[in-house]
Amino acid sequence: MIEIQNLTKSFGPIKAVDNLSLKVQKGTTVGFLGPNGAGKTTTIKILTSLITATSGRATLNGIDVLTDPKGALGHVGAVVETPEFYPFLTPVETLAYLGGIRGMSADEIKVRTNEVLHQVKMDEWRTTRIGKFSKGMKQRVAIAQALLHEPDIIILDEPTSGLDPRGMVEVREVIKDLKRQHYTVFMSSHLLGEVQETCDAAALIDHGKLLVYDDIDALSRQTKVVKMEVKTVNDVTDALLGRVRSMASVRGADRVNGRTFVVTYEGAHDERADLLVSIQKEGAKVSEFSSVGLPLEMLYMDLVKESR
């Protein structure tokens, strides 16, 4: 279990993390969301003992990482940002080094190294020095080392960063595997779809403060703002868009192309039905309409906008 209590981190006058409290229950996968500079990485750096906190408490399996980092990190696997590796070592040697530090026997290291390198599709590069690797390959090895010792808690800071689309899918599958096996996973990401796809719950922070933290389903239900793409058989004129923007519950309307526009509005099914009627009354001959964007994305945009 990860427990953060009243955590604050200041860099001079700037509070990167501001009295943050959060609890990640054992066996859950929690996404940690927020815009750039929100305090996600700072929080993760505190959890992984890369930096100290100004005040507050952060425990991993009940051990305070601020006062006993060695004890707290003993059963944690972490990937923070995109780490660099010692260029003269191979993945096998790097994993042997880290496995040794974490108390794994030579036999265990050998077995697990084969497994995790296979899992991140790096088998064929196992004895190549990491100095020759691309960023994506390094990210795969970084994930492999985090899983090596089968830690109780896995902390991932933007784990798909630097990966190609196929690599992203593979890493998401790894995270889903961890979720199925009830590992405790705390993962920051910019990719809302990724969080919605892989996590049980999500915490959203901005300016170092927690805005919302709930199950993904509950968060989706909280979403008030919806985007709808509307296709018409006649041209979308500026006059039409202006009239749509002035309608009740509408937050914005933007042309996609000559006969398509996206309208952002607050509400649920009733509001959407009313809105479609109103749009047609304004002269638009609607041929198709569909919701666009993820509920979590809508909530994110809404809450971040409010907090700023």
């Binding site: 003269f88 070592l89 970084a142």
Partner: protein
């Protein structure tokens, strides 16, 4: 499914701090074994050994030979401290300008005519102290000042003198090792972002420091020991033996390596870039501190606390007797002091530098955050 189910996971016990240090040492040292730095350092040592060994004979200064018909300059014998008693009392003496003489081969000629020793009744050869140094001299019992005195003798460079030619470079080699293996060791974890890999582990910062320092010392130690081994072998071949203080010199070189490495680590924790740390470490030892040492000679103040001054003991320790401080006054009244580090004080200075720099750099490394 490759990953083991959680309930079947192996529970690992994190090794103790003492058990983790050799693990860190092993992989840090592996880095050096595979990097160009260790090879380059050894290459520099081999190159220096080769150059110092080959160039003097190539320029006409071999390590052994025979001096024939060397004209001797006589001075009063009282200038020398001649040991023993009961023998003939010499009235004049002449230096034989070689560090080691085969005394049985010496032949003296007066005005071109052989002048036998007659079992020391006419002259004898002795190794005596003169001007703070051990020298070879011929002592004459009779007054031969009115004659042209020449000598022929076999000579060989003494082990002390032979090793002394090379040990002038030992301090610089130590500085090169400290620069290559210490200067960017800690700052590199931050600048190169490898800290993101190693710090989020159950590993205390001081343990990481200790393992790294041990690896740096191992790499530097290999280079220095190889250098000394090379001198030892060459000395056996060319000087017929190894100076009795040779291992003591190696001990001082090892102490200097530890102190210089500690200072390099301190610079590595204070600075933010690897280039700056590397440049500052090198120039601190080859330029900044030697300038201070030089000024102390002119100012007439012996700065025993200077690490580079203390490092002079690495070469001086071979001198028998050990040199003493001296003053030389030039026309116009300006005087230059020649200072020599006291061996015991030099050892204390090196240990103090090492202890303070290690303590301080370990403290700073522990507090340094990977915030960038």
């Amino acid at each position: 499914m490759i990953m083991m189910a959680e309930e079947n996971k192996t529970v690992h016990t994190v090794p103790s701090d003492a058990e983790q240090i050799p693990i860190v040492w092993r992989y840090e040292f592996l880095k050096y074994l595979r990097s160009w730095r260790l090879l380059a350092s050894i290459g520099i040592a081999v190159l220096v050994l080769t150059l110092i060994y080959v160039i003097p004979p190539a320029l006409g200064h071999p390590y052994s030979g025979t001096d024939s018909d060397q004209t001797l300059s006589l001075v009063p014998a009282g200038a020398f401290q001649v040991g023993g008693s009961g023998g003939p009392v010499p009235v004049a003496a002449a230096l034989l300008d070689r560090s080691n003489i085969d005394s049985s081969s010496v032949a003296i000629f007066l005005n071109g005519t052989a002048y036998p020793s007659s079992n020391g009744a006419n002259w004898f050869v002795s190794n005596v102290e003169y001007g703070g140094q051990n020298v070879w001299a011929v002592f004459f019992v009779e007054d031969v000042s009115g004659d042209t005195v020449t000598a022929t003798y076999d000579w060989q460079t003494s082990p002390e003198s032979f090793a002394g030619n090379f040990l002038g470079f030992a301090s610089l080699l130590v500085v090169i090792c400290a620069t290559f293996f210490g200067a960017d060791s800690l700052v590199g974890e931050f600048q190169n972002r490898t800290g993101y890999l190693i710090f989020p582990n159950p590993l205390k910062r001081w343990v990481l420091y200790a393992g790294k320092f041990a690896a740096s010392m191992t790499a530097g130690g290999i280079v220095v020991v190889l250098f000394y081994a090379g001198i030892g072998v060459l000395s056996l071949v060319s000087a017929g033996g190894v100076d009795d203080d040779f291992l003591l010199s190696l001990g001082f070189a090892a102490l200097y390596l530890m102190a210089a490495m500690a200072v390099a680590y301190l610079i590595s924790t204070v600075l933010k870039g690897t280039t700056g740390a590397t440049v500052l470490t090198f120039f601190l030892f080859v330029m900044i501190m030697p300038i201070v040492d030089g000024i102390s000679s002119i100012a007439g103040t012996k700065i025993q606390g200077s690490l580079t001054f203390a490092a002079g003991v690495i070469g001086y320790i071979l001198n028998d007797p050990y040199p003493t401080d001296a003053s030389q006054t030039f026309p116009g009244g300006m005087s230059i002091q020649s200072y020599y580090p006291d061996p015991a004080t030099a050892a204390v200075v090196m240990i103090a530098y090492a202890a303070i720099a290690i303590g301080l750099s370990m403290y700073l490394f522990k507090r340094k955050q990977l915030a960038g």
